[in-house]
Symmetry: C2
Subunit: 80 residues, 2 copies
């Protein structure tokens, strides 16, 4: 089963990397950019009987390793 | 307008970071993981008249800065 985990910074958490990208885009001539936030994406392939089981397992992975839940949110999409 | 750009490594490109995460997940006791690939996600907020215009503008950003098109694919989702 394939799944995609998207990890993004919570609102209010400073994102210097995003700010740097925003500055670079402006420097390249792109106008009207109000904000850039960078996050991470993990494409997982795992053995699971059902989508529910996969989601449960991946939630555990996020809590333990993939996301820092103090400052990050995560969302899980089961692809197939 | 809000948009999300997802940048992932092309198939065949080695992903040592993904491999390390795969190893860590196994070490934590998660079984049956066949693969992990890590990518990046950018949440952009920009001024644009229409979704089409935004998509065109973001495609240029991806080609010039956000993605290394030699080894990475990108996909653009206009959120609203």
């Amino acid at each position: 089963m394939k799944a995609r985990v998207t990890v993004t910074l919570k609102n209010g958490v400073l994102d210097p990397q995003g700010k740097a990208i925003e500055g670079s885009l402006s420097a390249l001539g792109f106008a009207g950019i109000a904000g850039v936030r960078q996050g991470k994406v993990f494409d997982l392939e795992l053995a699971a009987q059902s989508a529910d089981e996969a989601k449960q397992e991946i939630t555990k992975m996020c809590e333990q390793l993939l996301a820092n839940t103090v400052i990050e949110n995560y969302s899980i999409d089961i692809l197939k």
